[in-house]
Symmetry: C2
Subunit: 243 residues, 2 copies
Amino acid sequence: MTTIDASPLRGQERPGPRRQEVVTGIKDYILRNRLKPGDLLPTETELCEAVGASRSSVREAVKILSALDIVEVRHGHGTFVGRMSLNALVESLAFRGLLSGEEDHHVLGQVVDVRQTLEQGLAAEIIAVLDGDHRAQLSALVDQMEDLAAQDKDFLEVDRAFHVKLMEPLGNDLILQLTEAFWQVQAIVAPTLRTEPEHRVITAQRHRAIVDAVTAGDPAVLRAAVAEHYAPIRESIARAVQG
Amino acid sequence: MTTIDASPLRGQERPGPRRQEVVTGIKDYILRNRLKPGDLLPTETELCEAVGASRSSVREAVKILSALDIVEVRHGHGTFVGRMSLNALVESLAFRGLLSGEEDHHVLGQVVDVRQTLEQGLAAEIIAVLDGDHRAQLSALVDQMEDLAAQDKDFLEVDRAFHVKLMEPLGNDLILQLTEAFWQVQAIVAPTLRTEPEHRVITAQRHRAIVDAVTAGDPAVLRAAVAEHYAPIRESIARAVQG
DNA sequence: TGGGATTTGTACGTATGTATA
DNA sequence: TTATACATACGTACAAATCCC
Protein backbone atom coordinates (compact mmCIF):
# COMPACT_ATOMS: atom_id res chain seq x y z
CA MET A 1 0.00 0.00 0.00
CA THR A 2 1.12 3.54 -0.63
CA THR A 3 2.63 5.25 2.35
CA ILE A 4 2.45 8.89 3.32
CA ASP A 5 6.16 9.22 3.90
CA ALA A 6 6.07 12.68 5.40
CA SER A 7 9.27 12.14 7.36
CA PRO A 8 11.59 9.67 5.64
CA LEU A 9 13.23 8.82 8.94
CA ARG A 10 15.91 11.44 8.69
CA GLY A 11 18.14 11.92 11.67
CA GLN A 12 17.56 9.26 14.26
CA GLU A 13 15.63 10.06 17.41
CA ARG A 14 12.57 11.72 15.97
CA PRO A 15 9.89 11.59 18.65
CA GLY A 16 7.12 12.63 16.33
CA PRO A 17 6.36 14.68 13.24
CA ARG A 18 4.78 18.04 13.61
CA ARG A 19 1.32 19.00 12.48
CA GLN A 20 2.61 20.95 9.52
CA GLU A 21 4.48 17.89 8.31
CA VAL A 22 1.25 15.94 8.44
CA VAL A 23 -0.43 18.67 6.41
CA THR A 24 2.19 18.56 3.68
CA GLY A 25 2.26 14.78 3.96
CA ILE A 26 -1.43 14.54 3.14
CA LYS A 27 -1.10 17.06 0.32
CA ASP A 28 1.81 15.11 -1.12
CA TYR A 29 -0.23 11.93 -0.84
CA ILE A 30 -3.01 13.47 -2.92
CA LEU A 31 -0.59 14.76 -5.54
CA ARG A 32 1.52 11.60 -5.68
CA ASN A 33 -1.50 9.38 -6.18
CA ARG A 34 -3.06 11.76 -8.70
CA LEU A 35 -6.29 11.92 -6.73
CA LYS A 36 -9.11 14.07 -8.04
CA PRO A 37 -11.83 15.99 -6.19
CA GLY A 38 -14.23 13.54 -4.63
CA ASP A 39 -11.72 10.71 -4.32
CA LEU A 40 -11.53 8.90 -1.00
CA LEU A 41 -8.57 9.35 1.31
CA PRO A 42 -7.29 6.82 3.86
CA THR A 43 -9.06 6.77 7.20
CA GLU A 44 -7.71 8.80 10.07
CA THR A 45 -6.35 5.65 11.67
CA GLU A 46 -4.52 4.69 8.49
CA LEU A 47 -3.15 8.19 8.14
CA CYS A 48 -1.87 7.98 11.70
CA GLU A 49 0.22 4.87 11.16
CA ALA A 50 1.23 5.95 7.67
CA VAL A 51 2.69 9.22 8.86
CA GLY A 52 3.59 8.00 12.32
CA ALA A 53 1.60 10.64 14.16
CA SER A 54 -1.10 10.53 16.76
CA ARG A 55 -4.76 10.85 16.07
CA SER A 56 -4.84 14.39 17.47
CA SER A 57 -2.18 15.66 15.12
CA VAL A 58 -3.75 14.04 12.10
CA ARG A 59 -7.15 15.40 12.99
CA GLU A 60 -5.85 18.95 13.44
CA ALA A 61 -4.03 18.68 10.12
CA VAL A 62 -7.18 17.45 8.40
CA LYS A 63 -9.11 20.34 9.92
CA ILE A 64 -6.64 22.80 8.44
CA LEU A 65 -6.96 21.18 5.03
CA SER A 66 -10.75 21.14 5.28
CA ALA A 67 -10.75 24.85 6.10
CA LEU A 68 -8.93 25.41 2.81
CA ASP A 69 -11.38 23.04 1.07
CA ILE A 70 -8.47 20.84 0.02
CA VAL A 71 -10.18 17.93 1.74
CA GLU A 72 -13.79 17.39 2.71
CA VAL A 73 -14.79 15.36 5.74
CA ARG A 74 -18.10 13.56 5.92
CA HIS A 75 -19.01 12.30 9.35
CA GLY A 76 -19.29 8.54 9.52
CA HIS A 77 -18.32 8.20 5.89
CA GLY A 78 -14.73 9.22 5.34
CA THR A 79 -12.36 11.93 4.17
CA PHE A 80 -12.35 12.96 0.52
CA VAL A 81 -10.41 15.29 -1.75
CA GLY A 82 -12.15 18.65 -1.63
CA ARG A 83 -13.89 20.69 -4.30
CA MET A 84 -11.25 23.43 -4.14
CA SER A 85 -13.75 26.23 -3.76
CA LEU A 86 -12.88 29.75 -2.69
CA ASN A 87 -14.77 29.45 0.58
CA ALA A 88 -11.56 30.13 2.45
CA LEU A 89 -11.25 33.47 0.67
CA VAL A 90 -14.85 34.33 1.47
CA GLU A 91 -14.56 33.47 5.16
CA SER A 92 -11.28 35.25 5.57
CA LEU A 93 -12.27 38.41 3.70
CA ALA A 94 -15.74 38.55 5.20
CA PHE A 95 -14.37 38.38 8.71
CA ARG A 96 -11.86 41.06 7.90
CA GLY A 97 -14.69 43.23 6.68
CA LEU A 98 -16.76 42.63 9.80
CA LEU A 99 -13.74 43.29 11.97
CA SER A 100 -13.05 46.63 10.33
CA GLY A 101 -16.21 47.70 12.07
CA GLU A 102 -19.47 49.44 11.46
CA GLU A 103 -18.06 52.92 11.24
CA ASP A 104 -15.14 52.09 8.99
CA HIS A 105 -16.26 50.45 5.74
CA HIS A 106 -12.99 50.70 3.88
CA VAL A 107 -12.77 46.92 3.40
CA LEU A 108 -16.24 46.91 1.86
CA GLY A 109 -15.19 49.75 -0.41
CA GLN A 110 -12.17 47.79 -1.55
CA VAL A 111 -14.31 44.78 -2.37
CA VAL A 112 -16.58 46.98 -4.46
CA ASP A 113 -13.50 48.34 -6.24
CA VAL A 114 -12.35 44.85 -7.16
CA ARG A 115 -15.77 43.77 -8.38
CA GLN A 116 -16.08 46.86 -10.55
CA THR A 117 -12.54 46.46 -11.86
CA LEU A 118 -13.17 42.87 -12.92
CA GLU A 119 -16.44 43.62 -14.68
CA GLN A 120 -15.12 46.74 -16.38
CA GLY A 121 -11.82 45.14 -17.29
CA LEU A 122 -13.63 42.25 -18.96
CA ALA A 123 -16.22 44.43 -20.71
CA ALA A 124 -14.77 43.93 -24.19
CA GLU A 125 -14.34 40.17 -23.74
CA ILE A 126 -17.86 39.80 -22.38
CA ILE A 127 -19.33 41.56 -25.39
CA ALA A 128 -17.19 39.48 -27.72
CA VAL A 129 -18.25 36.08 -26.40
CA LEU A 130 -21.76 36.69 -25.06
CA ASP A 131 -24.37 35.22 -27.38
CA GLY A 132 -28.10 35.78 -27.73
CA ASP A 133 -28.96 32.97 -25.39
CA HIS A 134 -26.96 34.42 -22.55
CA ARG A 135 -28.32 37.87 -23.22
CA ALA A 136 -31.86 36.52 -22.98
CA GLN A 137 -31.07 34.87 -19.66
CA LEU A 138 -29.65 38.09 -18.30
CA SER A 139 -32.71 39.96 -19.47
CA ALA A 140 -34.96 37.41 -17.75
CA LEU A 141 -33.08 37.90 -14.51
CA VAL A 142 -33.63 41.64 -14.71
CA ASP A 143 -37.32 40.95 -15.29
CA GLN A 144 -37.35 39.04 -12.01
CA MET A 145 -35.64 41.94 -10.29
CA GLU A 146 -38.27 44.35 -11.50
CA ASP A 147 -41.06 42.06 -10.36
CA LEU A 148 -39.56 41.63 -6.91
CA ALA A 149 -38.85 45.34 -6.63
CA ALA A 150 -42.49 46.07 -7.42
CA GLN A 151 -43.44 43.80 -4.52
CA ASP A 152 -40.98 45.44 -2.13
CA LYS A 153 -39.01 42.23 -1.87
CA ASP A 154 -35.29 41.56 -1.77
CA PHE A 155 -33.68 40.03 -4.82
CA LEU A 156 -30.28 39.09 -3.43
CA GLU A 157 -30.19 35.70 -5.11
CA VAL A 158 -31.23 37.09 -8.47
CA ASP A 159 -28.52 39.73 -8.18
CA ARG A 160 -25.94 37.05 -7.48
CA ALA A 161 -27.13 34.98 -10.41
CA PHE A 162 -26.93 38.02 -12.68
CA HIS A 163 -23.30 38.84 -11.98
CA VAL A 164 -22.29 35.20 -12.27
CA LYS A 165 -24.22 34.80 -15.51
CA LEU A 166 -22.51 37.88 -16.88
CA MET A 167 -19.10 36.25 -16.46
CA GLU A 168 -20.16 32.73 -17.45
CA PRO A 169 -19.57 32.92 -21.20
CA LEU A 170 -15.92 33.82 -20.62
CA GLY A 171 -15.26 30.17 -19.84
CA ASN A 172 -12.91 30.98 -16.97
CA ASP A 173 -13.87 29.09 -13.83
CA LEU A 174 -11.56 31.14 -11.64
CA ILE A 175 -13.11 34.43 -12.69
CA LEU A 176 -16.53 32.90 -12.14
CA GLN A 177 -15.65 31.78 -8.63
CA LEU A 178 -13.97 35.06 -7.77
CA THR A 179 -17.08 36.91 -8.93
CA GLU A 180 -19.24 34.79 -6.67
CA ALA A 181 -16.76 34.99 -3.80
CA PHE A 182 -16.56 38.79 -3.78
CA TRP A 183 -20.31 38.97 -4.16
CA GLN A 184 -20.68 36.80 -1.07
CA VAL A 185 -18.24 38.91 0.90
CA GLN A 186 -20.19 42.04 0.05
CA ALA A 187 -23.45 40.31 0.98
CA ILE A 188 -22.03 39.39 4.37
CA VAL A 189 -20.36 42.69 5.17
CA ALA A 190 -22.84 45.12 3.64
CA PRO A 191 -25.88 44.44 5.88
CA THR A 192 -24.64 47.11 8.26
CA LEU A 193 -25.86 49.57 5.67
CA ARG A 194 -29.33 48.36 4.83
CA THR A 195 -30.68 48.71 1.31
CA GLU A 196 -33.73 50.91 1.32
CA PRO A 197 -36.80 49.80 -0.62
CA GLU A 198 -36.77 52.65 -3.11
CA HIS A 199 -33.22 51.70 -4.02
CA ARG A 200 -34.39 48.38 -5.41
CA VAL A 201 -36.16 49.90 -8.37
CA ILE A 202 -33.08 51.90 -9.19
CA THR A 203 -30.87 48.83 -8.79
CA ALA A 204 -33.05 46.89 -11.21
CA GLN A 205 -32.76 49.74 -13.69
CA ARG A 206 -28.98 49.70 -13.40
CA HIS A 207 -28.92 46.02 -14.24
CA ARG A 208 -31.19 46.64 -17.19
CA ALA A 209 -28.71 49.24 -18.39
CA ILE A 210 -25.92 46.66 -18.23
CA VAL A 211 -27.89 44.25 -20.40
CA ASP A 212 -28.65 47.06 -22.84
CA ALA A 213 -24.98 48.00 -22.99
CA VAL A 214 -24.00 44.41 -23.71
CA THR A 215 -26.58 44.31 -26.46
CA ALA A 216 -25.35 47.58 -27.93
CA GLY A 217 -21.89 46.03 -28.14
CA ASP A 218 -19.90 49.06 -27.02
CA PRO A 219 -17.37 48.26 -24.26
CA ALA A 220 -17.17 51.91 -23.18
CA VAL A 221 -20.93 52.02 -22.67
CA LEU A 222 -20.81 48.78 -20.72
CA ARG A 223 -18.05 50.12 -18.48
CA ALA A 224 -20.13 53.21 -17.79
CA ALA A 225 -23.18 51.11 -16.98
CA VAL A 226 -21.13 49.02 -14.56
CA ALA A 227 -19.85 52.18 -12.87
CA GLU A 228 -23.41 53.41 -12.49
CA HIS A 229 -24.41 50.08 -11.04
CA TYR A 230 -21.90 50.40 -8.20
CA ALA A 231 -22.59 54.08 -7.58
CA PRO A 232 -25.34 53.57 -4.96
CA ILE A 233 -23.32 51.25 -2.75
CA ARG A 234 -20.41 53.66 -2.97
CA GLU A 235 -22.65 56.49 -1.83
CA SER A 236 -23.94 54.40 1.03
CA ILE A 237 -20.39 53.71 2.13
CA ALA A 238 -19.47 57.37 1.88
CA ARG A 239 -22.53 58.34 3.93
CA ALA A 240 -21.76 55.71 6.56
CA VAL A 241 -18.24 57.03 6.98
CA GLN A 242 -19.49 60.54 7.63
CA GLY A 243 -22.70 60.10 9.59
CA MET B 1 -14.61 38.44 32.41
CA THR B 2 -16.51 38.19 29.13
CA THR B 3 -17.77 34.76 28.22
CA ILE B 4 -17.88 33.12 24.84
CA ASP B 5 -21.51 32.13 25.08
CA ALA B 6 -21.61 29.97 22.01
CA SER B 7 -24.34 27.70 23.32
CA PRO B 8 -26.57 29.41 25.88
CA LEU B 9 -27.56 26.09 27.36
CA ARG B 10 -30.55 25.54 25.16
CA GLY B 11 -32.35 22.28 25.40
CA GLN B 12 -31.19 20.25 28.33
CA GLU B 13 -28.93 17.28 27.81
CA ARG B 14 -26.37 18.75 25.49
CA PRO B 15 -23.33 16.44 25.62
CA GLY B 16 -21.10 18.97 23.92
CA PRO B 17 -21.07 21.75 21.35
CA ARG B 18 -19.87 21.03 17.87
CA ARG B 19 -16.62 22.26 16.51
CA GLN B 20 -18.33 24.69 14.17
CA GLU B 21 -20.04 26.30 17.13
CA VAL B 22 -16.68 26.77 18.76
CA VAL B 23 -15.40 28.38 15.56
CA THR B 24 -18.24 30.88 15.42
CA GLY B 25 -17.97 31.34 19.16
CA ILE B 26 -14.36 32.46 18.89
CA LYS B 27 -15.15 34.69 15.92
CA ASP B 28 -18.00 36.27 17.86
CA TYR B 29 -15.71 36.79 20.81
CA ILE B 30 -13.26 38.72 18.64
CA LEU B 31 -16.02 40.84 17.12
CA ARG B 32 -17.85 41.43 20.40
CA ASN B 33 -14.72 42.61 22.17
CA ARG B 34 -13.63 44.73 19.20
CA LEU B 35 -10.24 43.01 19.09
CA LYS B 36 -7.76 44.09 16.46
CA PRO B 37 -5.04 42.11 14.64
CA GLY B 38 -2.29 41.26 17.10
CA ASP B 39 -4.52 41.32 20.18
CA LEU B 40 -4.26 38.43 22.60
CA LEU B 41 -7.02 35.85 22.91
CA PRO B 42 -7.86 33.80 26.00
CA THR B 43 -5.81 30.67 26.55
CA GLU B 44 -7.06 27.37 25.24
CA THR B 45 -8.01 26.33 28.75
CA GLU B 46 -10.03 29.51 29.24
CA LEU B 47 -11.72 29.04 25.88
CA CYS B 48 -12.64 25.51 26.91
CA GLU B 49 -14.52 26.52 30.02
CA ALA B 50 -15.96 29.60 28.36
CA VAL B 51 -17.52 27.63 25.53
CA GLY B 52 -17.96 24.40 27.47
CA ALA B 53 -16.01 22.22 25.10
CA SER B 54 -13.04 19.96 25.44
CA ARG B 55 -9.55 21.11 24.65
CA SER B 56 -9.40 18.88 21.55
CA SER B 57 -12.45 20.55 20.05
CA VAL B 58 -11.18 24.01 20.87
CA ARG B 59 -7.81 23.20 19.37
CA GLU B 60 -9.34 21.90 16.14
CA ALA B 61 -11.47 25.03 15.91
CA VAL B 62 -8.43 27.22 16.48
CA LYS B 63 -6.59 25.32 13.76
CA ILE B 64 -9.38 26.07 11.31
CA LEU B 65 -9.24 29.75 12.20
CA SER B 66 -5.47 29.79 11.93
CA ALA B 67 -5.67 28.24 8.45
CA LEU B 68 -7.83 31.22 7.46
CA ASP B 69 -5.39 33.57 9.18
CA ILE B 70 -8.16 34.81 11.42
CA VAL B 71 -6.07 33.86 14.42
CA GLU B 72 -2.36 33.27 14.79
CA VAL B 73 -0.97 30.75 17.26
CA ARG B 74 2.50 31.10 18.77
CA HIS B 75 3.83 28.05 20.56
CA GLY B 76 4.39 28.71 24.24
CA HIS B 77 3.15 32.25 23.93
CA GLY B 78 -0.54 32.38 23.15
CA THR B 79 -3.20 32.84 20.50
CA PHE B 80 -3.63 36.21 18.81
CA VAL B 81 -5.96 37.82 16.31
CA GLY B 82 -4.48 37.18 12.87
CA ARG B 83 -3.20 39.52 10.21
CA MET B 84 -6.03 38.61 7.83
CA SER B 85 -3.75 37.87 4.91
CA LEU B 86 -4.81 36.05 1.77
CA ASN B 87 -2.59 33.07 2.51
CA ALA B 88 -5.65 30.85 2.52
CA LEU B 89 -6.42 31.90 -1.05
CA VAL B 90 -2.83 31.23 -2.10
CA GLU B 91 -2.67 27.79 -0.52
CA SER B 92 -6.04 26.76 -1.84
CA LEU B 93 -5.49 28.02 -5.38
CA ALA B 94 -1.91 26.82 -5.59
CA PHE B 95 -2.89 23.32 -4.59
CA ARG B 96 -5.68 23.36 -7.12
CA GLY B 97 -3.17 24.35 -9.75
CA LEU B 98 -0.75 21.62 -8.77
CA LEU B 99 -3.56 19.10 -8.72
CA SER B 100 -4.70 20.00 -12.22
CA GLY B 101 -1.46 18.36 -13.27
CA GLU B 102 1.54 18.89 -15.43
CA GLU B 103 -0.18 18.25 -18.72
CA ASP B 104 -3.23 20.41 -18.03
CA HIS B 105 -2.32 23.97 -17.16
CA HIS B 106 -5.78 25.48 -17.41
CA VAL B 107 -5.72 26.69 -13.80
CA LEU B 108 -2.45 28.48 -14.45
CA GLY B 109 -3.98 30.04 -17.54
CA GLN B 110 -6.93 31.28 -15.54
CA VAL B 111 -4.64 32.88 -12.97
CA VAL B 112 -2.80 34.67 -15.76
CA ASP B 113 -6.15 35.85 -17.10
CA VAL B 114 -7.08 37.36 -13.76
CA ARG B 115 -3.72 39.06 -13.29
CA GLN B 116 -3.92 40.59 -16.75
CA THR B 117 -7.53 41.64 -16.25
CA LEU B 118 -6.71 43.46 -13.01
CA GLU B 119 -3.71 45.30 -14.43
CA GLN B 120 -5.47 46.23 -17.66
CA GLY B 121 -8.69 47.14 -15.91
CA LEU B 122 -6.83 49.51 -13.62
CA ALA B 123 -4.65 51.01 -16.35
CA ALA B 124 -6.40 54.37 -16.38
CA GLU B 125 -6.46 54.65 -12.58
CA ILE B 126 -2.80 53.71 -12.32
CA ILE B 127 -1.81 56.41 -14.78
CA ALA B 128 -4.00 58.92 -12.97
CA VAL B 129 -2.51 58.42 -9.53
CA LEU B 130 1.07 57.31 -10.22
CA ASP B 131 3.51 60.09 -9.51
CA GLY B 132 7.13 60.67 -10.49
CA ASP B 133 8.46 58.99 -7.40
CA HIS B 134 6.66 55.75 -8.06
CA ARG B 135 7.65 55.86 -11.71
CA ALA B 136 11.30 56.18 -10.69
CA GLN B 137 10.99 53.21 -8.37
CA LEU B 138 9.44 51.10 -11.10
CA SER B 139 12.20 52.14 -13.46
CA ALA B 140 14.83 51.18 -10.89
CA LEU B 141 13.26 47.74 -10.55
CA VAL B 142 13.48 47.24 -14.31
CA ASP B 143 17.15 48.26 -14.11
CA GLN B 144 17.67 45.46 -11.63
CA MET B 145 15.91 43.03 -13.95
CA GLU B 146 18.18 43.96 -16.81
CA ASP B 147 21.27 43.56 -14.63
CA LEU B 148 20.19 40.14 -13.41
CA ALA B 149 19.19 39.06 -16.91
CA ALA B 150 22.66 40.00 -18.14
CA GLN B 151 24.10 37.73 -15.45
CA ASP B 152 21.77 34.85 -16.35
CA LYS B 153 20.13 35.06 -12.96
CA ASP B 154 16.51 34.76 -11.91
CA PHE B 155 14.70 37.90 -10.82
CA LEU B 156 11.57 36.44 -9.31
CA GLU B 157 11.60 38.74 -6.30
CA VAL B 158 12.13 41.83 -8.42
CA ASP B 159 9.25 40.78 -10.64
CA ARG B 160 7.01 40.41 -7.62
CA ALA B 161 8.06 43.80 -6.30
CA PHE B 162 7.35 45.39 -9.68
CA HIS B 163 3.78 44.21 -9.96
CA VAL B 164 3.05 45.16 -6.37
CA LYS B 165 4.65 48.57 -6.80
CA LEU B 166 2.54 49.13 -9.90
CA MET B 167 -0.65 48.75 -7.85
CA GLU B 168 0.59 50.51 -4.74
CA PRO B 169 -0.41 54.09 -5.58
CA LEU B 170 -4.05 53.01 -5.96
CA GLY B 171 -4.28 52.95 -2.18
CA ASN B 172 -6.38 49.78 -2.17
CA ASP B 173 -4.94 47.17 0.19
CA LEU B 174 -7.16 44.41 -1.16
CA ILE B 175 -6.01 44.91 -4.74
CA LEU B 176 -2.45 44.98 -3.50
CA GLN B 177 -2.84 41.70 -1.64
CA LEU B 178 -4.71 40.06 -4.50
CA THR B 179 -1.91 41.07 -6.83
CA GLU B 180 0.65 39.48 -4.57
CA ALA B 181 -1.53 36.43 -3.95
CA PHE B 182 -2.05 35.63 -7.63
CA TRP B 183 1.64 36.28 -8.27
CA GLN B 184 2.49 33.74 -5.59
CA VAL B 185 0.09 31.18 -7.03
CA GLN B 186 1.68 31.56 -10.44
CA ALA B 187 5.15 31.27 -8.91
CA ILE B 188 4.16 28.03 -7.19
CA VAL B 189 2.33 26.44 -10.10
CA ALA B 190 4.44 27.68 -13.02
CA PRO B 191 7.76 25.90 -12.24
CA THR B 192 6.57 22.92 -14.27
CA LEU B 193 7.27 25.05 -17.31
CA ARG B 194 10.75 26.38 -16.70
CA THR B 195 11.70 29.88 -17.79
CA GLU B 196 14.51 29.74 -20.28
CA PRO B 197 17.44 32.12 -19.88
CA GLU B 198 16.91 33.99 -23.15
CA HIS B 199 13.38 34.74 -22.04
CA ARG B 200 14.67 36.87 -19.17
CA VAL B 201 15.98 39.62 -21.42
CA ILE B 202 12.65 39.75 -23.19
CA THR B 203 10.79 39.78 -19.89
CA ALA B 204 12.83 42.72 -18.70
CA GLN B 205 12.04 44.53 -21.92
CA ARG B 206 8.32 43.94 -21.45
CA HIS B 207 8.48 45.47 -17.98
CA ARG B 208 10.37 48.44 -19.39
CA ALA B 209 7.58 48.87 -21.90
CA ILE B 210 5.04 48.99 -19.08
CA VAL B 211 6.96 51.77 -17.34
CA ASP B 212 7.23 53.65 -20.62
CA ALA B 213 3.51 53.28 -21.19
CA VAL B 214 2.75 54.62 -17.73
CA THR B 215 5.04 57.57 -18.43
CA ALA B 216 3.36 58.21 -21.77
CA GLY B 217 0.05 58.44 -19.94
CA ASP B 218 -2.06 56.57 -22.46
CA PRO B 219 -4.21 53.80 -20.91
CA ALA B 220 -4.59 52.01 -24.22
CA VAL B 221 -0.82 51.82 -24.64
CA LEU B 222 -0.47 50.54 -21.08
CA ARG B 223 -3.08 47.86 -21.68
CA ALA B 224 -1.20 46.75 -24.78
CA ALA B 225 2.08 46.64 -22.87
CA VAL B 226 0.48 44.51 -20.17
CA ALA B 227 -0.87 42.13 -22.79
CA GLU B 228 2.60 41.82 -24.30
CA HIS B 229 4.02 41.14 -20.86
CA TYR B 230 1.82 38.10 -20.37
CA ALA B 231 2.24 36.81 -23.94
CA PRO B 232 5.29 34.60 -23.22
CA ILE B 233 3.72 32.73 -20.33
CA ARG B 234 0.61 32.20 -22.43
CA GLU B 235 2.72 30.72 -25.19
CA SER B 236 4.46 28.46 -22.71
CA ILE B 237 1.12 27.21 -21.47
CA ALA B 238 -0.12 26.64 -25.01
CA ARG B 239 3.05 24.72 -25.88
CA ALA B 240 2.78 22.61 -22.72
CA VAL B 241 -0.79 21.65 -23.54
CA GLN B 242 0.24 20.38 -26.98
CA GLY B 243 3.69 18.86 -26.50
C1' DT C 1 22.69 32.47 34.01
C1' DG C 2 19.08 29.74 35.33
C1' DG C 3 14.92 27.98 36.76
C1' DG C 4 10.05 28.03 37.36
C1' DA C 5 5.47 29.44 35.53
C1' DT C 6 2.56 29.77 31.59
C1' DT C 7 0.95 28.28 27.21
C1' DT C 8 0.73 25.62 23.18
C1' DG C 9 1.99 20.89 21.01
C1' DT C 10 1.63 15.86 21.03
C1' DA C 11 0.02 11.38 22.46
C1' DC C 12 -3.24 7.94 24.00
C1' DG C 13 -7.50 5.84 25.67
C1' DT C 14 -12.44 5.66 25.76
C1' DA C 15 -17.02 6.58 24.63
C1' DT C 16 -20.47 8.36 21.30
C1' DG C 17 -22.79 9.84 16.98
C1' DT C 18 -23.38 8.72 12.12
C1' DA C 19 -23.54 6.54 7.69
C1' DT C 20 -23.46 2.19 5.03
C1' DA C 21 -24.54 -2.64 4.08
C1' DT D 1 -32.92 -4.18 12.63
C1' DT D 2 -28.28 -5.44 13.32
C1' DA D 3 -23.52 -5.08 12.51
C1' DT D 4 -19.53 -2.68 10.92
C1' DA D 5 -16.69 1.16 9.85
C1' DC D 6 -15.79 5.79 10.46
C1' DA D 7 -15.55 10.43 12.27
C1' DT D 8 -16.57 13.17 16.62
C1' DA D 9 -15.83 14.38 21.27
C1' DC D 10 -13.77 14.23 25.93
C1' DG D 11 -10.15 13.77 29.35
C1' DT D 12 -5.59 13.11 30.96
C1' DA D 13 -0.75 13.11 30.86
C1' DC D 14 3.49 14.75 29.25
C1' DA D 15 6.72 17.35 25.94
C1' DA D 16 8.29 21.69 23.99
C1' DA D 17 8.54 26.65 23.55
C1' DT D 18 8.35 31.20 25.52
C1' DC D 19 8.52 34.54 29.10
C1' DC D 20 9.74 36.51 33.40
C1' DC D 21 12.03 36.89 37.64
